[in-house]
């Protein structure tokens, strides 16, 4: 559920910033940001419970997996990207303007594109966790 709220809210904002649905006011999209934060919090809490409460593995078994560490790295990158988008692109000012439907600055589009790629990677890496560190099998067909 947390993943749905997070990916859906962030995905819609990113697609709009990339130029899809240009008539959609940014001020309307800004209302999704609290839902994205709530979704992330839900993912963080449930993820921590999974790691601590897994009856078949110790927390160290999960934390030492390369796939898990790469996933967390991507989550941190996504959060840094989100902060850059919020505070260093013009998104916040543009979304405060009533019914702004104009062209978005290129720097904001870069961060939006990166955001989409990073969150898709986080979902992918999360699903790869049960397969451990067998990434060398990526070359095996």
């Amino acid at each position: 559920m947390g993943l749905i709220l997070l990916v859906g809210s962030v995905g819609l904002i990113d697609l709009r910033v990339l130029g899809i649905g240009r008539q959609l006011p940014l001020s309307l999209l800004y209302r999704l940001v609290p839902w994205a934060i709530f979704g992330f919090t839900l993912c963080f809490v449930t993820g921590t419970v999974f790691i601590l409460g897994d009856p078949f593995k110790t927390p160290a078994d999960t934390l030492t997996k390369t796939v898990f560490q790469i996933k967390i790295l991507f989550v941190v990158l996504a959060l840094i990207n989100a902060l850059l988008f919020e505070y260093y692109s013009d998104f916040r000012e543009l979304s405060r303007a009533d019914n702004f439907v104009g062209e978005i600055p290129f720097s904001a589009k870069i961060t939006a594109g990166l955001s989409l790629f990073i969150w898709m990677s986080v979902v992918y890496l999360g699903r790869m966790l049960p397969y451990g560190d067998s990434f060398y099998f990526i070359f095996y067909w």
Partner: protein, 164 residues
């Protein structure tokens, strides 16, 4: 059951189920998860905006996002079909799997109606959908997807469902 066994014995299904390659089962399940995340996620975000917004004119701008929802649905359906073929005898005997498919279908129907209601001004021709009906469809979508998601997750735990 013979049909299910045949499905599982096809070359594609065997490759998905038994190959050690990361491109087989692991990547398909990851693609299914990504497709689901964007399909349901974008849908939920649109429903939240419909429920929170008053001026309908603003909501008409959500129309272009639907093609990405259909793309995510296509990814989910293709990956889901391959995963189903690989484990047909295990999945197609679970009641919860049929509940999942039923609510996926109902949610997609609600989504189609919602898209119709959010149609562009040129398509209105006076047959506008009221804000109340749009909100009802949004709630129906949200509830439908939540049930589909929960039942989808439960298909991974057949022993739990049988009480073992």
């Amino acid at each position: 059951m013979d049909v299910l066994i045949y499905l599982e014995s096809t070359a594609v299904a065997t490759w998905v189920r038994e190959s050690l390659s990361l491109w087989a089962f692991p990547t398909l399940i990851a693609l299914h998860a990504i497709g689901m995340a964007f399909l349901v996620g974008l849908n939920v975000a649109i429903c939240l905006l419909v429920l929170a917004s008053k001026p309908k004119a603003q909501l008409m701008s959500l129309w272009p996002f639907f093609r990405y929802i259909w793309l995510a649905l296509a990814v989910s359906v293709v990956s889901g079909t391959l995963l189903l073929m690989a484990n047909a005898t295990q999945l197609l005997v679970l009641t919860v799997f049929y509940i999942k498919i039923l609510f996926v279908v109902l949610s997609v129907i609600s989504l189609l109606k919602l898209r119709q209601g959010l149609g562009t001004e040129s398509e209105f021709n006076g047959n506008t959908m009221s804000q109340k009906k749009l909100r009802f469809l949004s709630v129906a979508c949200l509830v439908g997807w939540m049930i589909a998601l929960v039942s989808g997750r439960l298909t991974a735990y057949p022993m739990l469902l049988s009480g073992n």
